[in-house]
């Protein structure tokens, strides 16, 4: 019984971690102020 409880705790923790990773992933940002380029950039 104790082994089953330990396994269930491990399983729940794995699901919780995977869910948190997805939930806390950064998203969005802001549109770059850089323009759509209409000149040929010099070769560095």
């Amino acid at each position: 019984m104790r082994a089953l409880i330990a396994a269930a705790i491990g399983l729940a923790a794995a699901f919780a971690l995977a869910w948190l990773m997805v939930l806390l992933a950064p998203s969005g940002g802001t549109t770059s102020p850089e323009p759509l380029v209409t000149t040929v950039p010099a070769h560095p």
């Binding site: 082994a3 396994a7 969005g28 549109t31 380029v37 000149t39 070769h43």
Partner: protein, 330 residues
């Protein structure tokens, strides 16, 4: 004490073993996405290319013609389309700017590409266009999906405004990476004239002269299969102005050149792809396999500890009190 340790190890083993497939099949498809605020430029060049001189209406060879491609993520529009469709969406405002040898504009074609940030599937919403013409894409454009497969895809061709198969032709080594080589051939097709052309020419003035634009290309991509990002691209691009009323008259070559990515653009793309592919590989391979291996090791250790604990608790025959009845045997 041993029993307690074995239970803790068992919980950890289950945690790690369960985490391995969760990372690969739950977290990865949700975490791997193209950022909404991407901004990229790439320069392509065609050496010894032919362009139409609009002042004389005669083709002229040039040492170099450049094409500057800009992809700019429009975050506000992506959020708006995301709300409308309920999907995680990326909106790219793109510009293909073709510059002649002196840097003057030959043509420029803007487009808006809207797609699912995770799967790269096109998302159809207001504003999806090429050069102002509404389009409905099928398949991919500019980039392939994460974990690209060895199969043909549909690739959207901005000139014809249609999608056609792009064929997987094999795996090749490119600058230390195993990449998939894809090729698409667009046969001669009548296409729209760009709205912006040199010397103030407009589609209307070109039509008045009695010309229409035809185009064919062979498009080649070398794609990193992990990120789906092309690390190199080339195109054998041809354009002709054909006489509408006189089909027998020799067409005017408007563009003829083998377009290749400039070296610095390849270097920049390679660096970006190499850093991104590590992140993807961590999620789909390194972490899951490490978790699975550690989980199996901890499970074995926990079983060993449990067996030892049971043996220590279970008194052997020598320890049994004398006079106790022997167990019955068959």
């Amino acid at each position: 004490m041993r029993r307690k340790s074995s239970l803790v190890l068992l919980a950890l083993a289950v945690f790690l073993t369960a985490l391995a497939p969760l990372l690969r099949w739950y977290a990865f498809p949700r975490l791997a996405r193209i950022p909404q605020d991407e901004y990229q430029t790439a320069v392509l060049e065609a050496d010894d290319a032919t362009l139409l001189d609009y002042t004389t209406l005669k083709p002229r060879r040039h040492v170099k013609v450049s094409i500057v491609q800009t992809l700019k993520g429009n975050v506000e529009e992506a959020r708006k389309v995301g709300k409308e469709t309920g999907r995680d969406v990326v909106v790219w405002d793109c510009l293909s700017y073709v510059a002649g040898p002196e840097g003057g504009m030959v043509s420029q074609i803007p487009e808006r590409y809207i797609f699912d940030a995770h799967t790269q599937e096109p998302v159809h919403a207001d504003g999806e266009h090429v050069d102002g013409d509404p389009v409905r894409r099928r398949g991919v454009e500019f980039k392939f999906p994460f974990l690209t497969e060895k199969r043909d895809y549909y690739y959207f061709d901005a000139q014809t405004r249609t999608s056609a198969p792009i064929h997987y032709r094999g795996t090749v080594r490119f600058r230390g990476l195993d990449v998939y080589y894809f090729e698409q051939t667009i046969p001669w097709t009548k296409v729209a004239l760009p709205k912006k052309m040199p010397l103030g020419a407009t589609p209307e003035t070109v039509r008045q002269v009695g010309l229409e634009r035809w185009y064919s290309t062979v498009r080649m991509f070398w794609v990193d299969p992990v990120t789906g990002a092309p690390v190199n691209g080339e195109e054998k691009h041809k354009e002709e102005m054909r006489w509408v009323e006189e089909p027998g008259k020799k067409p005017l070559v408007a563009f003829d050149g083998h377009v290749r990515m400039r070296e610095d653009s390849i270097d920049h793309t390679m660096a970006l792809v190499k850093s991104n592919r590590i992140l993807v590989l961590i999620l789909i391979s390194y972490l899951p396999w490490t978790c699975a291996g550690l989980g199996a090791a901890l499970l074995a250790l926990s079983l060993v500890l449990e067996a030892r604990a049971r043996r220590a608790e279970d008194p052997g025959p020598a320890d049994r009190p004398t006079g106790a009845p022997e167990p019955a045997t068959a």
